[in-house]
Amino acid sequence: MISTEPAIVAKGLRKHYKDKRALDGFDLVVPQGTVYGLLGPNGAGKTTAVRILATLVRLDGGQAEVAGFNVATQARQVRRRIGFTGQYAAVDEVLTGRQNLRMFGRLFHLGAKGAIRRADELLEQFGLVDAADKGIKEYSGGMRRRLDLAASMILAPQVLFLDEPTTGLDPRGRNEVWEAVRSLVAEGTTVLLTTQYLDEADQLAERIAVIDRGRVIADDTPAELKNHIGGDRVEVVAHEVADIPAVAKVVARVSSGEPEIDGESRRVHGAVTDRVGALTEVARTLQDAGVGVEDIGLRRPTLDEVFLTLTGHPAEEEPSTAEQTEKEEEKQ
């Protein structure tokens, strides 16, 4: 089915839980075949947005279409065209990988033979053939997630929703999942993923929408977004508190804005464009001046810095409360 109609259109989505506004005028348009990252801190509304689009949660206001169907009035049609992977690897832990995929295949109405065939294809595609007949309890976190992705891909969906697909995984598991997502994308699936990690969005997404307090506050390519917020940063950790002013002066020479200073951790950092040039210069100047440093390096801006730049306020962590309320409300 070739059409130029966007895979996801959300207009003015609103959702509130008691007095908390989870979504407050959320707009998003995702063209077909793209990977879109929803980036934001806990409680910003990422999960609520994805759950509404995946027909799991009713919206209070606004309109949303996925694969051309209205999520509120045509949920069944939407469900035939989407895959959904939540924050946990939603597979049956008692069953084997193969049994899980066959069960989900039957529930996707592939028929007994179709489900068996599809399970084999997916085990192959997601590199789980060797573990196919082992119980899920013997799977690593990354393997569980891959099986979870495979289960979302049973109908070869047009749109795949991934809610924090790598939360709780070690770096290796994270890479495994990233690889799996990339291979799906290569086959033309539209992916909407939520993440709290800028580097994850950077790795996978062609475009990133930054969410704050239930609405999209920036929507751009990762490159543009990083340009906007000053790209990579050079960071120096001074030996002594007394050295901080000297270090700051050196960092200021290479960075595009005022360097930021964190006295407590003796950390000085500033945004740079010529990454290697800046790093070399800072290191050499500090050495020539005889200023002792504990650590020096380049790093990507953190989500906090993105937020600070975009919103003028830091990412409101209220970590457990906000996310928990969201979860609890959803449960009720």
Binding site: F84, V94, G114
Partner: protein, 281 residues
């Protein structure tokens, strides 16, 4: 990735009328039932755990305390006890239902089902189906244990089957309680504490002793406990010692053994459905 198998199926399921929906509701339920059965195959120890408590109780009450137990109106205590064990196992069975529901909800499996084009009712009916099959297995194993310790039914084939049907009816009604509680409690640890409900519900009844032997207030609770009605009715059908009091509810145990499960279903089925719908709030 558009394999032929996937494409053609998507097209056929697109054309669904009411008949097709009914077909898929049944087919999806059966898939969930099969999932439950596969659990038994892959974790046979689950059955052992489920049956451990009643079997230990048979030994404890039948043989350790048994000599000190008397059945009002006379009769062998172990003959009296065994239908109680059947009833207790059914009564506590709602915990298994609740546990699976909590597990699925907490791990996102319920959400996965809800994001799929399957019949939403199948999540619950399939659960109920596999629980009833599990309960039948429980009764089979317990029944064999009962035969070993000398229990017999003198009621004839029809009455005996009727007695077991009453146990399954009680278990059926409690499925809805289990589903409802499973969606009410936040996690698996909390589900474990449901034991605090299950224990008195099963015990303060005619399972071990006749309510007539309890203090009046407790006896009244025990008498009106749905578990008591089922157990007393089954004792009558099996021709086992009954220890009947003269209260109305005990005199009409057979009636109440049918009425109670219907009342429980009428109350908890809508509650469970409402709870399930509230997941999308």
């Amino acid at each position: 990735m558009s394999t032929p198998s996937v494409e053609s199926t998507t097209l056929t399921t697109e054309l669904d009328g009411p008949g097709r929906r009914l077909y898929w509701a049944a087919a999806d339920s059966w898939t969930i039932v099969r999932r439950g059965l596969t659990h038994y195959v892959r974790q046979p120890s689950n059955i052992a755990w489920q049956l451990g408590f009643p079997i230990v109780s048979v030994l404890l009450f039948g043989y350790v305390f048994g000599s000190a137990m008397s059945v009002p109106g006379g009769g062998d205590y172990r003959e009296f006890l065994m239908p109680g064990m059947f009833g207790m196992t059914m009564a506590m069975g709602f915990m298994n239902t609740a546990y699976v529901v909590v597990y699925d909800t907490a791990r996102g499996v319920t959400d996965r089902f809800r994001s799929m084009p399957m019949a939403p009712s199948a999540v619950v009916t399939g659960r109920g189906g596999s629980d009833l099959i599990g309960a039948s297995l429980d009764l089979l194993v317990l029944g064999l244990t009962a035969l070993v310790v000398g229990w017999r039914s003198d009621g004839g084939l029809l009455a005996t089957l009727g007695g077991f049907a009453l146990f399954l009816l009680l278990r059926f009604a409690l499925i809805w309680v289990g589903v409802w509680l499973g969606m009410l409690v936040p996690n698996e640890e909390a589900a474990g504490s449901l034991f605090a409900v299950a224990f008195p519900f099963a015990m303060i009844s005619s399972v071990f002793v006749a309510p007539a032997l309890m203090p009046d207030w407790l006896g009244a609770i025990a008498m009106w406990n749905p578990v008591s009605s089922t157990v007393t009715a089954a004792r009558e059908l099996f021709g086992n010692p009954v220890a009947l009091g003269d209260s109305w509810v005990e005199q009409n145990a057979l009636l109440m053994a049918v009425v109670w499960p219907l009342v429980i279903t009428a109350v908890f089925l809508p509650l469970a459905v409402r709870r399930f719908q509230r997941l999308s709030r």
